[in-house]
């Protein structure tokens, strides 16, 4: 086995920053690591594995000699540049939504469907949306034993899902509103207070401090938000259940990092809380925190910055057969993005 050359495209963004940390702290299987970003960021010097690396501008030549390229860039940048990298011989692991539903591109969560990563006719592997990923390790483990049939999901999505600008906006809004104890008492008062202190432009369609915003992504037919349909379609593809029934409502909450999901899951076979505990405790990347009588359940504040998928509040539905209700948390920048991509890259690296 030789040490493949890795390129990180989008090295300066929210996910890119976590990615540099992740490749610096996990088992080092890499030869050269190249950092690539937009021409605006080219020339910056960033640390990876304790070494200074000069960021290169995205161009066809940066892929020369690259074995594996991880892309974390906007959809339209992926659409243009991923095929170029793949044609130049790199196995591309793409974080964007562009190729996820392409039948010739596997969509991989290493704990769930690692074998799919080997069948990649376009030389591209996609990594799922962060909201889907937040629950996949847990739901994959339960599905393997009990056969998942239906999912009803409501999300509590962190602002860093909208990148560095998302986190900055929540910090800005909190600073603008802190100390005013009349905030949150009258319709429109949050908007009014912000209008005096912050520019209107925001990554979110409504104030996110002292508020929740039932919208994530772009508008789709039938009133769906793109993030809600991704959760449906990607879950079906990753789990290999083409007829899985899914309904999701995606809501942004004033949390910096870590997505949470309230999940109502019906299975083919009868399943108890004890059954679910046994499966989840045995799943290597899942942490079970489920003793609510003693205040034990996961919350974003205790999950952020860590790798596992956390599960708590496991309950047998009172009125629905073979059904569990549960609460899942996962760091949307780590397992939800950079970590999953790094794990796929490590899977591919074993082929070299």
């Amino acid at each position: 086995m030789s040490r493949p050359t890795l390129a990180l495209i989008g090295a300066t963004g929210a996910v890119g920053t976590v990615m540099r940390d992740i490749v610096s702290t996990r088992d080092d299987v890499w030869g050269e690591i190249r950092l690539v970003a937009s021409p605006r960021s080219a020339g910056k010097v960033l640390r990876v594995r304790g070494e200074d690396v000069v960021v290169r501008a995205l161009a066809p030549e940066v892929f020369d000699g690259v074995d594996i390229a991880i892309f974390d860039v906007p959809d339209e940048v992926s659409a243009e540049w991923v095929p170029i990298a793949a044609q130049r011989g790199a196995v591309v692991i793409d974080k964007s939504g562009t190729f996820r539903m392409d039948p010739d591109v596997p969509l991989v969560v290493p704990e769930v469907n690692p074998g799919d990563a080997r069948d990649r006719p376009r030389n591209i592997i996609s990594t799922p949306n962060c909201t889907t990923l937040s629950m996949m390790a847990a739901m994959g483990a339960l599905h393997a034993e009990y056969g998942l049939r239906e999912l009803v999901v409501a999300s509590y999505q962190a602002v860093s899902g909208s990148g560095v600008a998302g986190s900055a906006r929540l910090y800005d809004e909190i600073e603008a509103l802190a100390g005013d104890r009349s905030i949150g008492q009258t319709a429109g008062d949050v908007r009014k207070a912000l209008a005096n202190k912050l520019p209107d432009e925001s990554p979110f369609p409504a104030p996110v401090a002292f508020n929740v915003v039932p919208w994530a992504g772009s508008y789709k037919d039938g009133g769906w938000a793109s993030e809600e349909l991704k959760l449906r379609n990607e879950s079906r593809k990753i789990l290999g259940i083409p007829d899985l029934k899914v309904s999701a409502t995606c809501v942004r909450v004033p949390v910096i990092t870590t997505h949470s999901l309230a999940v109502h899951a019906r299975f083919e076979r009868e399943i108890t809380v004890a059954d679910a505990h046994r499966v989840l405790e045995a799943a290597p990347t899942v942490v079970l925190m489920d003793d609510p009588a003693n205040g034990v359940f996961p919350t974003p504040a205790d999950v952020v910055g860590t790798d596992p998928t956390y599960v708590g509040r496991v309950r047998q539905a009172v009125d629905f057969p073979n059904t569990l209700d549960l609460f899942v948390c996962g760091d949307n920048l780590r397992k939800g993005a950079a970590l999953n991509a790094a794990e796929i890259a490590e899977l591919v690296a074993t082929e070299f």
Copy 2:
């Protein structure tokens, strides 16, 4: 028709404050209005209908001559004092959980089951939990035409649901954390920052600023939180559907006032988005805000301090027959508490 005497028990709390505002601004059908609270608050002077009223300490005599008494006090205080008031001849409207499931006590939402208020063998009428109430006007209207069969609900509950102390805690936490842009980046950092600045005691079992907390109420068998079971049992009783299937996950979010709910609702009959829009637009206390392509959906910041139930994000479930997904917001101190109690009191007042 004569003007009945009204007593407000718990006049100084979070709901009591809103209640004084509500009886001061709605059509005035009342004779005397008496304010009652714990001995600690007795002697305080508070404004009602533009007049100063001295708060009286809770005692059997304060109910002499009272026609209707609205109680907003803890469960154990209701358990002791509601029967005393009812025996002294007052019709009691009780906000606590104590009597809600008593078959001899009607549980009333005036838009949904006003007739139930007349059949009150114990002289007591209960008003529902704020989370249940936040969706009841909307779900009642849809049920009346399409026959509700199943509800899967995830809540986004405001901190004022835990009273004045709940709001104070969120303001305190926000002030303690504002300005520190490392908050929300590392597991435990919110707890650590708060430990240096605030006392540990909180109405909530985890930090609520920059966080969400999947717990509301007390521990019940099977890992359920009391609030989740209330939502099930109270919805069945109010809607008159004893076999309604319900699963709920209740989550506290950093919002001061206004509960939101993501609702997945299956009906007996086929229902489209257009059907739901027609029903909800015709419902007098429901406001439909549903044009997400143009950024129109309800959020707590625009709902707080107002009376209606707001509905948006109405979607026909892709994979589930006869099923809608929707997002509902309601001010938990107004329709969720004080307003519903005042509306029941006004219903009863028409009998005088």
